[in-house]
Homo-oligomer: 194 residues x 2
Protein backbone atom coordinates (compact mmCIF):
# COMPACT_ATOMS: atom_id res chain seq x y z
CA UNK A 1 0.00 0.00 0.00
CA UNK A 2 0.98 3.58 -0.56
CA UNK A 3 1.21 5.25 2.82
CA UNK A 4 2.03 8.95 2.77
CA UNK A 5 5.74 9.18 3.46
CA UNK A 6 5.42 11.28 6.60
CA UNK A 7 4.21 8.19 8.47
CA UNK A 8 7.50 6.97 9.85
CA UNK A 9 6.72 4.59 12.64
CA UNK A 10 4.08 3.17 14.89
CA UNK A 11 5.08 2.47 18.44
CA UNK A 12 3.32 0.35 21.01
CA UNK A 13 3.33 1.24 24.70
CA UNK A 14 2.18 -1.12 27.38
CA UNK A 15 2.71 1.47 30.09
CA UNK A 16 1.11 4.86 30.53
CA UNK A 17 2.17 7.02 27.62
CA UNK A 18 2.14 10.15 29.76
CA UNK A 19 5.00 8.73 31.85
CA UNK A 20 7.41 8.67 28.96
CA UNK A 21 10.90 8.84 30.40
CA UNK A 22 10.04 11.29 33.14
CA UNK A 23 11.85 10.10 36.24
CA UNK A 24 10.64 13.01 38.36
CA UNK A 25 7.04 12.12 37.59
CA UNK A 26 7.61 8.56 38.65
CA UNK A 27 9.30 9.72 41.88
CA UNK A 28 6.39 12.03 42.63
CA UNK A 29 3.85 9.28 42.02
CA UNK A 30 5.66 7.01 44.48
CA UNK A 31 5.90 9.88 46.96
CA UNK A 32 2.18 10.72 46.67
CA UNK A 33 1.30 7.06 47.06
CA UNK A 34 3.39 6.99 50.23
CA UNK A 35 1.64 10.11 51.56
CA UNK A 36 -1.72 8.49 50.86
CA UNK A 37 -0.86 5.15 52.43
CA UNK A 38 0.49 6.86 55.55
CA UNK A 39 -2.64 9.05 55.61
CA UNK A 40 -0.56 12.23 55.40
CA UNK A 41 -2.13 13.87 52.33
CA UNK A 42 -4.34 13.11 49.34
CA UNK A 43 -2.48 14.43 46.31
CA UNK A 44 -2.90 12.97 42.83
CA UNK A 45 -1.57 13.52 39.37
CA UNK A 46 -4.37 14.69 37.13
CA UNK A 47 -5.15 12.35 34.23
CA UNK A 48 -3.71 13.53 30.90
CA UNK A 49 -6.61 15.19 29.09
CA UNK A 50 -7.47 13.18 25.99
CA UNK A 51 -9.90 14.04 23.21
CA UNK A 52 -11.69 10.85 22.27
CA UNK A 53 -12.89 10.78 18.66
CA UNK A 54 -13.79 7.20 17.82
CA UNK A 55 -14.91 4.39 20.10
CA UNK A 56 -15.60 0.84 19.10
CA UNK A 57 -18.18 -1.13 21.07
CA UNK A 58 -18.64 -4.83 21.29
CA UNK A 59 -20.97 -6.69 23.58
CA UNK A 60 -18.48 -9.00 25.24
CA UNK A 61 -15.57 -6.70 25.91
CA UNK A 62 -15.18 -3.20 27.23
CA UNK A 63 -15.34 -0.36 24.68
CA UNK A 64 -12.09 0.31 22.82
CA UNK A 65 -10.97 3.80 21.92
CA UNK A 66 -9.79 3.67 18.30
CA UNK A 67 -8.93 7.30 17.69
CA UNK A 68 -7.99 9.95 20.23
CA UNK A 69 -5.57 12.84 20.72
CA UNK A 70 -3.61 14.27 23.62
CA UNK A 71 -4.83 17.72 24.63
CA UNK A 72 -2.67 20.56 25.89
CA UNK A 73 -2.99 20.87 29.68
CA UNK A 74 -4.63 24.12 30.81
CA UNK A 75 -3.98 23.62 34.52
CA UNK A 76 -1.15 22.15 36.57
CA UNK A 77 -0.29 18.46 36.84
CA UNK A 78 -1.02 17.75 40.51
CA UNK A 79 -3.58 18.80 43.05
CA UNK A 80 -4.99 17.66 46.33
CA UNK A 81 -5.52 18.20 50.01
CA UNK A 82 -3.01 18.56 52.83
CA UNK A 83 -3.67 19.66 56.41
CA UNK A 84 -7.02 21.11 55.37
CA UNK A 85 -5.51 23.19 52.57
CA UNK A 86 -5.78 22.96 48.82
CA UNK A 87 -2.43 22.13 47.18
CA UNK A 88 -1.63 22.56 43.49
CA UNK A 89 1.65 22.21 41.63
CA UNK A 90 3.41 21.59 38.36
CA UNK A 91 6.52 19.41 38.04
CA UNK A 92 9.17 19.72 35.35
CA UNK A 93 12.64 18.43 34.72
CA UNK A 94 15.38 19.85 32.56
CA UNK A 95 18.68 18.47 31.27
CA UNK A 96 20.06 21.99 30.91
CA UNK A 97 22.69 22.75 33.54
CA UNK A 98 22.41 26.45 34.19
CA UNK A 99 18.82 27.50 33.65
CA UNK A 100 15.20 26.42 33.37
CA UNK A 101 13.44 27.42 30.13
CA UNK A 102 10.10 29.08 30.85
CA UNK A 103 8.43 27.71 27.72
CA UNK A 104 7.99 24.56 29.80
CA UNK A 105 5.09 26.28 31.52
CA UNK A 106 2.41 27.58 29.18
CA UNK A 107 0.37 30.79 29.53
CA UNK A 108 -2.80 28.99 30.60
CA UNK A 109 -0.86 27.29 33.37
CA UNK A 110 0.58 30.60 34.58
CA UNK A 111 -2.93 32.04 34.68
CA UNK A 112 -4.02 29.01 36.68
CA UNK A 113 -1.16 29.45 39.18
CA UNK A 114 -2.08 33.11 39.64
CA UNK A 115 -5.70 32.17 40.22
CA UNK A 116 -4.88 29.50 42.81
CA UNK A 117 -2.77 31.95 44.80
CA UNK A 118 -5.55 34.55 44.65
CA UNK A 119 -8.02 32.02 46.07
CA UNK A 120 -5.62 31.21 48.94
CA UNK A 121 -4.51 27.81 47.70
CA UNK A 122 -0.95 26.56 48.14
CA UNK A 123 0.71 26.67 44.74
CA UNK A 124 4.26 25.97 43.60
CA UNK A 125 6.42 24.31 40.96
CA UNK A 126 8.89 21.48 41.43
CA UNK A 127 11.85 21.62 39.06
CA UNK A 128 14.55 18.98 38.77
CA UNK A 129 17.90 19.77 37.17
CA UNK A 130 18.73 16.24 36.07
CA UNK A 131 22.39 16.95 35.30
CA UNK A 132 23.00 17.99 38.94
CA UNK A 133 20.34 15.62 40.27
CA UNK A 134 18.90 18.45 42.32
CA UNK A 135 15.18 19.11 42.80
CA UNK A 136 13.80 22.45 43.93
CA UNK A 137 10.46 23.68 45.12
CA UNK A 138 9.75 27.25 44.02
CA UNK A 139 6.71 29.10 45.38
CA UNK A 140 4.18 30.13 42.73
CA UNK A 141 4.42 33.70 43.98
CA UNK A 142 8.23 33.72 43.47
CA UNK A 143 7.77 32.35 39.96
CA UNK A 144 5.22 35.02 39.03
CA UNK A 145 7.33 37.78 40.56
CA UNK A 146 10.37 36.62 38.60
CA UNK A 147 8.42 36.60 35.34
CA UNK A 148 6.86 40.01 35.96
CA UNK A 149 10.13 41.62 37.01
CA UNK A 150 12.66 40.20 34.57
CA UNK A 151 10.63 39.48 31.41
CA UNK A 152 13.25 36.80 30.65
CA UNK A 153 12.54 33.46 29.00
CA UNK A 154 14.67 31.40 31.36
CA UNK A 155 15.18 31.15 35.11
CA UNK A 156 18.83 30.67 36.11
CA UNK A 157 19.73 27.84 38.48
CA UNK A 158 21.03 30.47 40.91
CA UNK A 159 17.46 31.79 41.30
CA UNK A 160 16.31 28.34 42.44
CA UNK A 161 19.28 28.15 44.82
CA UNK A 162 18.45 31.53 46.34
CA UNK A 163 14.67 31.76 46.20
CA UNK A 164 13.71 28.08 45.98
CA UNK A 165 14.00 25.22 48.45
CA UNK A 166 16.13 22.15 47.80
CA UNK A 167 14.08 18.98 48.33
CA UNK A 168 16.03 16.24 50.03
CA UNK A 169 15.75 12.88 48.29
CA UNK A 170 15.42 9.83 50.48
CA UNK A 171 14.33 6.26 50.00
CA UNK A 172 10.79 6.83 51.25
CA UNK A 173 9.18 9.23 50.70
CA UNK A 174 11.25 9.62 47.54
CA UNK A 175 10.89 13.41 47.31
CA UNK A 176 9.54 14.73 50.60
CA UNK A 177 8.20 18.03 49.29
CA UNK A 178 5.59 18.28 52.06
CA UNK A 179 8.42 18.85 54.53
CA UNK A 180 9.18 22.05 52.62
CA UNK A 181 5.46 22.87 52.48
CA UNK A 182 5.31 22.52 56.28
CA UNK A 183 8.18 24.97 56.61
CA UNK A 184 7.07 27.66 54.22
CA UNK A 185 3.27 27.49 54.28
CA UNK A 186 2.55 26.26 57.81
CA UNK A 187 5.36 28.09 59.56
CA UNK A 188 7.33 25.12 60.82
CA UNK A 189 7.48 21.39 61.28
CA UNK A 190 4.44 19.15 61.33
CA UNK A 191 4.60 17.60 64.82
CA UNK A 192 2.15 14.86 63.93
CA UNK A 193 4.11 13.81 60.89
CA UNK A 194 7.64 13.86 62.24
CA UNK B 1 -13.81 -10.09 5.98
CA UNK B 2 -14.76 -12.32 8.86
CA UNK B 3 -15.17 -10.19 11.93
CA UNK B 4 -15.98 -12.04 15.13
CA UNK B 5 -19.74 -11.75 15.54
CA UNK B 6 -19.64 -9.92 18.86
CA UNK B 7 -18.51 -6.78 17.04
CA UNK B 8 -21.84 -5.14 16.49
CA UNK B 9 -21.15 -1.55 15.74
CA UNK B 10 -18.59 1.19 15.61
CA UNK B 11 -19.70 4.63 16.62
CA UNK B 12 -18.01 7.94 16.00
CA UNK B 13 -18.18 10.76 18.52
CA UNK B 14 -17.13 14.28 17.74
CA UNK B 15 -17.82 15.44 21.28
CA UNK B 16 -16.29 14.27 24.52
CA UNK B 17 -17.29 10.64 25.03
CA UNK B 18 -17.36 11.08 28.79
CA UNK B 19 -20.28 13.51 28.44
CA UNK B 20 -22.59 10.93 26.97
CA UNK B 21 -26.13 11.96 27.72
CA UNK B 22 -25.46 13.34 31.17
CA UNK B 23 -27.35 16.60 31.45
CA UNK B 24 -26.27 17.19 35.05
CA UNK B 25 -22.63 16.99 34.02
CA UNK B 26 -23.18 19.56 31.32
CA UNK B 27 -24.99 21.86 33.78
CA UNK B 28 -22.14 21.51 36.26
CA UNK B 29 -19.53 22.29 33.61
CA UNK B 30 -21.39 25.48 32.68
CA UNK B 31 -21.74 26.36 36.36
CA UNK B 32 -18.04 25.80 37.06
CA UNK B 33 -17.10 27.83 34.02
CA UNK B 34 -19.29 30.65 35.35
CA UNK B 35 -17.64 30.43 38.79
CA UNK B 36 -14.23 30.60 37.13
CA UNK B 37 -15.09 33.54 34.85
CA UNK B 38 -16.56 35.48 37.77
CA UNK B 39 -13.48 34.58 39.81
CA UNK B 40 -15.58 32.89 42.49
CA UNK B 41 -13.96 29.46 42.57
CA UNK B 42 -11.64 27.19 40.60
CA UNK B 43 -13.43 23.87 40.33
CA UNK B 44 -12.88 21.44 37.45
CA UNK B 45 -14.11 18.10 36.32
CA UNK B 46 -11.26 15.63 36.41
CA UNK B 47 -10.34 14.16 33.03
CA UNK B 48 -11.69 10.64 32.49
CA UNK B 49 -8.76 8.32 33.23
CA UNK B 50 -7.74 6.51 30.06
CA UNK B 51 -5.23 3.69 29.62
CA UNK B 52 -3.34 4.36 26.41
CA UNK B 53 -2.01 1.20 24.72
CA UNK B 54 -1.01 2.12 21.20
CA UNK B 55 0.11 5.47 19.78
CA UNK B 56 0.91 6.23 16.19
CA UNK B 57 3.46 8.95 15.45
CA UNK B 58 4.02 10.87 12.31
CA UNK B 59 6.29 13.82 11.82
CA UNK B 60 3.80 16.30 10.42
CA UNK B 61 0.79 15.75 12.65
CA UNK B 62 0.28 15.30 16.36
CA UNK B 63 0.46 11.72 17.69
CA UNK B 64 -2.73 9.71 17.32
CA UNK B 65 -3.90 7.28 19.95
CA UNK B 66 -4.95 4.09 18.14
CA UNK B 67 -5.87 1.88 21.06
CA UNK B 68 -6.95 2.88 24.55
CA UNK B 69 -9.44 1.96 27.27
CA UNK B 70 -11.54 3.83 29.81
CA UNK B 71 -10.43 3.18 33.39
CA UNK B 72 -12.70 2.94 36.41
CA UNK B 73 -12.50 6.16 38.44
CA UNK B 74 -10.97 5.69 41.91
CA UNK B 75 -11.72 9.19 43.14
CA UNK B 76 -14.59 11.63 42.69
CA UNK B 77 -15.40 13.58 39.52
CA UNK B 78 -14.77 17.17 40.59
CA UNK B 79 -12.31 18.99 42.76
CA UNK B 80 -10.98 22.45 43.29
CA UNK B 81 -10.57 25.48 45.47
CA UNK B 82 -13.19 27.77 47.03
CA UNK B 83 -12.64 30.47 49.65
CA UNK B 84 -9.28 28.93 50.55
CA UNK B 85 -10.75 25.47 51.08
CA UNK B 86 -10.36 22.23 49.17
CA UNK B 87 -13.65 21.10 47.58
CA UNK B 88 -14.34 17.61 46.26
CA UNK B 89 -17.56 16.05 44.99
CA UNK B 90 -19.22 13.41 42.89
CA UNK B 91 -22.27 14.06 40.71
CA UNK B 92 -24.83 11.48 39.68
CA UNK B 93 -28.26 11.46 38.14
CA UNK B 94 -30.96 8.83 38.34
CA UNK B 95 -34.19 8.24 36.45
CA UNK B 96 -35.61 6.28 39.36
CA UNK B 97 -38.34 8.21 41.18
CA UNK B 98 -38.15 7.10 44.78
CA UNK B 99 -34.56 6.20 45.55
CA UNK B 100 -30.91 6.54 44.56
CA UNK B 101 -29.07 3.23 44.00
CA UNK B 102 -25.78 3.18 45.91
CA UNK B 103 -23.98 1.05 43.32
CA UNK B 104 -23.55 4.37 41.47
CA UNK B 105 -20.74 5.15 43.87
CA UNK B 106 -18.01 2.53 44.04
CA UNK B 107 -16.05 1.40 47.10
CA UNK B 108 -12.89 3.24 46.08
CA UNK B 109 -14.90 6.44 45.80
CA UNK B 110 -16.42 5.98 49.25
CA UNK B 111 -12.95 5.46 50.67
CA UNK B 112 -11.85 8.66 48.92
CA UNK B 113 -14.80 10.63 50.38
CA UNK B 114 -13.96 9.36 53.88
CA UNK B 115 -10.35 10.36 53.41
CA UNK B 116 -11.20 13.89 52.19
CA UNK B 117 -13.41 14.50 55.24
CA UNK B 118 -10.68 13.21 57.55
CA UNK B 119 -8.21 15.68 56.03
CA UNK B 120 -10.67 18.56 56.54
CA UNK B 121 -11.71 18.99 52.93
CA UNK B 122 -15.25 19.90 51.92
CA UNK B 123 -16.80 16.79 50.40
CA UNK B 124 -20.31 16.05 49.18
CA UNK B 125 -22.34 14.41 46.42
CA UNK B 126 -24.77 16.09 44.05
CA UNK B 127 -27.66 13.86 42.99
CA UNK B 128 -30.31 14.76 40.43
CA UNK B 129 -33.62 12.91 40.31
CA UNK B 130 -34.36 13.53 36.65
CA UNK B 131 -38.01 12.46 36.81
CA UNK B 132 -38.74 15.19 39.40
CA UNK B 133 -36.08 17.51 37.97
CA UNK B 134 -34.74 18.06 41.48
CA UNK B 135 -31.06 18.27 42.37
CA UNK B 136 -29.78 17.78 45.91
CA UNK B 137 -26.49 18.31 47.65
CA UNK B 138 -25.80 15.73 50.34
CA UNK B 139 -22.84 16.13 52.68
CA UNK B 140 -20.25 13.36 52.45
CA UNK B 141 -20.58 12.84 56.21
CA UNK B 142 -24.39 12.31 55.88
CA UNK B 143 -23.79 9.81 53.07
CA UNK B 144 -21.26 7.82 55.08
CA UNK B 145 -23.46 7.87 58.19
CA UNK B 146 -26.42 6.60 56.17
CA UNK B 147 -24.37 3.75 54.71
CA UNK B 148 -22.90 2.77 58.08
CA UNK B 149 -26.24 2.90 59.88
CA UNK B 150 -28.66 1.33 57.42
CA UNK B 151 -26.51 -1.10 55.41
CA UNK B 152 -29.05 -0.60 52.60
CA UNK B 153 -28.24 -0.53 48.89
CA UNK B 154 -30.41 2.48 48.08
CA UNK B 155 -31.03 5.91 49.55
CA UNK B 156 -34.70 6.94 49.49
CA UNK B 157 -35.63 10.33 48.02
CA UNK B 158 -37.04 11.26 51.45
CA UNK B 159 -33.51 11.07 52.90
CA UNK B 160 -32.34 13.69 50.40
CA UNK B 161 -35.39 15.82 51.23
CA UNK B 162 -34.66 15.65 54.94
CA UNK B 163 -30.86 15.50 55.19
CA UNK B 164 -29.83 17.01 51.86
CA UNK B 165 -30.16 20.50 50.43
CA UNK B 166 -32.21 21.29 47.35
CA UNK B 167 -30.12 23.24 44.83
CA UNK B 168 -32.08 26.00 43.12
CA UNK B 169 -31.69 25.98 39.35
CA UNK B 170 -31.36 29.33 37.66
CA UNK B 171 -30.18 30.58 34.30
CA UNK B 172 -26.71 31.48 35.48
CA UNK B 173 -25.13 29.90 37.41
CA UNK B 174 -27.11 26.88 36.24
CA UNK B 175 -26.80 24.94 39.52
CA UNK B 176 -25.59 27.30 42.22
CA UNK B 177 -24.25 24.65 44.60
CA UNK B 178 -21.74 27.05 46.14
CA UNK B 179 -24.66 28.92 47.71
CA UNK B 180 -25.41 25.75 49.67
CA UNK B 181 -21.70 25.32 50.44
CA UNK B 182 -21.67 28.87 51.87
CA UNK B 183 -24.59 27.97 54.12
CA UNK B 184 -23.46 24.64 55.44
CA UNK B 185 -19.66 24.84 55.43
CA UNK B 186 -19.03 28.56 55.97
CA UNK B 187 -21.95 29.23 58.29
CA UNK B 188 -23.89 31.71 56.18
CA UNK B 189 -23.98 33.82 53.07
CA UNK B 190 -20.91 34.93 51.20
CA UNK B 191 -21.12 38.72 51.40
CA UNK B 192 -18.64 39.26 48.60
CA UNK B 193 -20.49 36.98 46.24
CA UNK B 194 -24.10 38.04 46.79
Amino acid sequence: MNYPNYIKKEKTFRTNYANRGMVLENDLNITNQYYQEKDIAIINKKATPIQVVKVSFNLKKQPTIKEAYFKKPSTTDYNGLYRGKYIDFEAKETKIKKYFPLHNINKQQLKHIKSIIKHQGICFIIVRFTSHNKTYLLKGSSLLEYINTTKKKTIPLSFFEEEGYLIKETYLPRIDYLKIVDQIYFGGQNEEKN
